[in-house]
Each structure stands twice: as structure tokens, then as C-alpha cells.
Subunit: 108 residues, 2 copies
DNA sequence: CCGATATATAAGTAAACACTTATATGAATG
DNA sequence: CATTCATATAAGTGTTTACTTATATATCGG
């Protein structure tokens, strides 16, 4: 899969507010089971399941099975295509981005 | 408009490959008239026009009218919501995984 | 095994999207 | 002022998307 397609996947995946909210919650809570994500979500269990699949397919989250539960966590590298793309526009917004790319590379 | 909605707009706008290609070309060429963007594009003039409107509405490009031509350029602040959102995860990485802030300071 | 729990898949649907062709607006030029 | 050039809007269309309800699969405890 080309870099452009990966970037498109990441952008599309994060563009949906409901799905992004799921991602943000996983990020906040560190590791969450799907059940936990369904509780406190506006949408149904299948909807959450579908969003989790999209996030996983985009490389944004990883999962760990533990019995009946599947625990999700953020996959830091998933944001890589986005960071790399933004890197090309560094001159446009200079200092704000500064350390971000470095930080991501260190975390790999 | 809330920050979340602005972010959603930016992500949705950049998620379409054709539209992102328009944005990238504006970024590369510095200032381009719509005509120039239509030439060398796979899609029709109205399609390009619609993409330019979307980019402008998302705050990603600015325009300057010069007679019949309208010249487009990247709006530096347009990527702000995206940068800010990613910056939020910068702290997340720092806190959750490793002490990346420390790592960064050590590496400087 | 059975029943309960956790998650995934199937199928259907309304809305959003990215395009098209046709036409309208707006601005320069002869 | 009429024509040409640059861009925008209108209207229509096939495809994608995000959801729903219903059902299937998987895992555990008794």
C-alpha cells in the first residue's frame, strides 16, 4: 500500500467525529475493552465494533485479546503517515510542529 | 464553530485524494490561479472549483482576485486545528509510554 | 454441554459525497 | 456592447458511509 493511500485511510478514519471520539477515549484511558467503549457511547455496539475495525485497519489502534474481552490501545505509529505529510508543510506553521515529529520517531 | 468541528472539517477536506492533490499543488507552486489547477487535473473545471471552495471553507487556502483570475495560496493557519489536535497526543505520548520529553531534551 | 457475556458480521437504509453536463455570473478586450 | 475568458452554481447521478436491527461466532463459568 502506497504512502498516499495510507494517509488517505488515516484521514478518512479520523474525520468521522464518532470514530474519532472512540480513538480519543482509547487514548485517554490507555487500554479499554470494547464493552467499556460501548458504554457511554451514543451509538450501538455494532457501530462501535465497526469503528474499531476501521481504526485497526488504518493502523491507529492495536488489540489484545483477554478471554472474552478485547482490549484496545492506541498504536502510536498509526499517526505516522499524518505526521510525515505535515512535515512537508513545516514552513507554513513553523514552531508549532517543532518537536512533534521528533517525538514520534523516538517512540517507534 | 467549535474546535472539534473545525478539526472535522480539516480532516474531511484533506481526506479526499483529489482535493488533497489540489492543496498540495497550491502548496508547491506558492500561488496558482484556478485555471492552472484545472490544467493537469484529472477532473473537470467545476470539480476543481468545488474542491477550492471546500478548501477555502475549511480555512486551508486563501484567495486573491486579480482581474478575471483568482489566485490561491495556502493559508498557514488552516492546519492549526490538526496540529493542535496532534499536539494533544504529544503530551499523551509523553505521559503514557515513555518520558519522551526527557528523551527529547537529552537529545538536544 | 448450557446459559450468559463479549464481539463480529449481515443486511438494509438514509444521508453525504464526488463527480458529471449544462448554464450562469463576472470581468477584460476589441 | 458583444465576445471571450475565468470561475461559480445548478441539477442530476452513482457510490460511499455511518448507522440500525437481527443474527452469528467465540469464550467463559457453572
Amino acid at each position: 500500500m502506497t504512502a498516499a493511500v495510507q494517509l488517505t485511510n488515516v484521514l478518512k478514519t479520523l474525520a468521522d467525529p464518532t470514530r474519532r471520539a472512540v480513538f480519543e477515549r482509547i487514548a485517554r484511558e490507555g487500554e479499554v475493552a470494547a464493552t467499556g467503549l460501548v458504554q457511554g457511547s451514543k451509538v450501538s455496539q455494532p457501530a462501535v465494533s465497526q469503528h474499531l475495525r476501521a481504526l485497526r485497519d488504518a493502523g491507529l489502534v492495536a488489540e489484545r485479546r483477554e478471554g472474552r474481552h478485547i482490549h484496545y490501545r492506541v498504536a502510536p505509529k498509526g499517526l505516522g503517515p499524518l505526521i510525515d505529510w505535515l512535515g512537508h508543510y513545516q514552513t507554513f506553521w513553523q514552531e508549532r510542529f517543532e518537536n512533534l515529529e521528533k517525538l514520534l520517531k523516538e517512540s517507534e
